[in-house]
Symmetry: C2
Subunit: 365 residues, 2 copies
């Protein structure tokens, strides 16, 4: 039985963004017509305005806003930069061209808009995200990093030259790069019943080789360490549009645990954004408690691992459940284990034994 999405969303999203940009542009013209200094109102991203929202289970911005006005000479520079960026974002989206943070920085020079360095332009890009409450991918600024996906999922492209063309993501057994085309494609149908995100390329290959996609009716995603934003967007879409549960498998260490948390609830510095988190995603391992349970070969935690544990224990998201418990166990045993550690019991032990056990467990988590 193939699953189809409840509704197609990506096309709507694009027109909404164009509308938003137009609205902000019209406001600028309006101010000028009325003899007012044009300005932008930006939700404040200062630490004091970042709060954890228990209901939607992610960090969000509070009610404070900052004004970037052309009247104030100290704000004129960043006001101009932001206005140029909105213009450039509109051009990118209407011409359906993709770009990167670095491209935007160099493109500004074509318009003689002055940025000190790329850090300054990156920061203005985040300002525009906050103004539009949309991730930069929506205005075609994509990350350079690519991770991969594999499984029975038919998609239909929306990018120029490929509109209407369909591909099934199980045709290439090394995986499909998750770039602008995949992120913006319509999800047409799938026979999968679960999405398995795994931290490492080696395991991703192992899972495909052992037909985890068929045996467990799964779409497999390689996050390649900390999941790039396009990958998190895809995970969210697979969950929201196709109602697929998402489980995450990482190395058994504090960084692995946090990779899972970022997929689940984002990060504090993306508090101005929705649409990048999968609050229902489940971290199924490798847990600190698995290290003892499965008698895994371990490596001692470093000073920086231990410090990171203590830091996360202060984070509101690590105050309960396995999130808290596993950090505490890591601190107690002071050892960590890699996903490949299961190879001690044979290369397919992880897919034959550990994974089925954890997938079953995930249903009750």
């Amino acid at each position: 039985m193939k699953k189809k999405p409840k509704k197609k969303v990506s096309v709507d999203k694009q027109s909404t963004l164009a509308d938003l940009l137009r609205k902000h542009g019209a406001q600028i013209y309006d101010d000028l017509d009325k003899g007012n200094f044009p300005k932008f109102s930006i939700p404040s991203r200062s630490v004091s305005n970042i709060v954890y929202d228990k209901k939607i289970r992610q960090y969000i911005l509070g009610a404070n806003t900052a004004v970037r006005s052309s009247r104030n000479s100290s704000q004129l520079r960043s006001f101009t930069q932001l206005m140029w960026l909105a213009f450039f974002a509109n051009r990118l989206t209407s011409q359906k061209k993709s770009s990167t943070l670095r491209d935007v920085y160099y493109s500004s020079q074509a318009f003689e808009v002055d940025f000190e360095d790329q850090a300054e332009s990156d920061n203005i890009i985040v300002d525009l995200e906050a103004v539009l409450a949309s991730p930069r991918e929506s205005f075609h600024v994509f990350p350079e990093e690519r991770s991969s996906v594999f499984g029975d999922l038919t998609i239909e492209y929306t990018v120029p030259g490929y509109q209407g063309k369909k591909t099934n993501l199980s045709d290439h057994p090394d995986g499909y790069a998750i770039g602008p085309s995949l992120t913006t494609a319509e999800l047409i149908e799938t026979s999968a019943e679960v999405v398995i995100a795994v931290e490492k390329g080696g395991l991703f290959t192992r899972f495909i080789e052992e037909q985890v996609d068929k045996k467990f009716k799964a779409i497999i995603v390689d996050t390649g360490g900390q999941a790039p934003r396009s990958t998190r967007t895809l995970l969210k879409r697979l969950h929201d549009e196709l109602s697929l549960p998402v489980v995450i498998l990482t190395d058994g260490d504090v960084y692995g645990e946090h990779i899972a948390m970022v997929i689940k609830s984002g990060s504090a510095n993306a508090a101005h954004l929705r649409g990048l988190t999968v609050p229902d995603a489940k971290w199924v391992g490798v847990w600190a408690t698995d290290i003892e349970k499965y008698k895994l070969p371990t490596i001692p935690m470093t000073e920086s691992d231990i410090k990171r544990c203590h830091d996360l224990l202060k984070d509101p998201r690590y105050q309960e459940g396995i999130w808290k418990k596993e950090l505490e166990v890591f601190l107690k045993i002071k050892r960590k284990a890699e996903l490949e550690a299961f190879s001690k019991y044979g290369l397919t032990n992880i897919t034959d034994k550990y994974l089925p056990h954890k997938l079953e467990l995930a249903k009750s988590l």
Copy 2:
């Protein structure tokens, strides 16, 4: 007019490797039957035995060999490790399972073969490469890193579950991950006339978006910085089997220049291997001399960039032609430029102007 390979090679390769392993195994049994202590003879990888071969244009090992004998108690440990690894490599290839360096390290524990840490097992893997004169990918130890490829190339898989299945690598416009399946696939046919390897994911996406594959009849490869070994293997196969010229485009700095050199002629620590280099590959830019010529925005070189230039100037491969000249210009101007710097002249300047110019130039390099 579609190009087809002169001969199919990957299947032959696999049987040759199995033969080689069997030959070494038989030798061990033979020694035992005759009452001799079994041993391995390994080409020496010490610095004094690494020489640059001008004819094949890469580093190779000299005539010195080291003996790893079970008679010598100080060699018994590494002899045993190497013998186990040959056994494990044979199992991987006959069962057609892929693995990684890390997998091998943990797998050894299943057999109670002792390795101090992963560095020790990595080193023994390189020893086996030297014994077999074959890269570890041939005995199914693959890198975790994945880069991507895109273009009109039809391949036919040889991995289990996909034998005989064909895919065209222009169907997914974000690119296809270059993993074990792609590396071992037969190259069936292509309409391409050139391979363009580019250092950065952002540019790879730009090239696809601007239809560089169609406009210049090209297969586009994203090396993702320093090209992983599977990517270098694919580049070599595209060149050797399909007679396609390979051009390389990198950032305009000393690291970019060396990324191109490694694709062309490998590295000193892979002197024991053939099959990973494309001696005819051409580095077409970004050259130090392009920085002035195209009036590119630049960044100052760091101390470490400058030191690296001086180091490479001592390398026998940087003694002539553009390789030497461009290093000298970098040292003179002490500035570097990124590929994205062309965005100063518009996002498509690099594909509209720079690339066609460089492709034309490549014909005479």
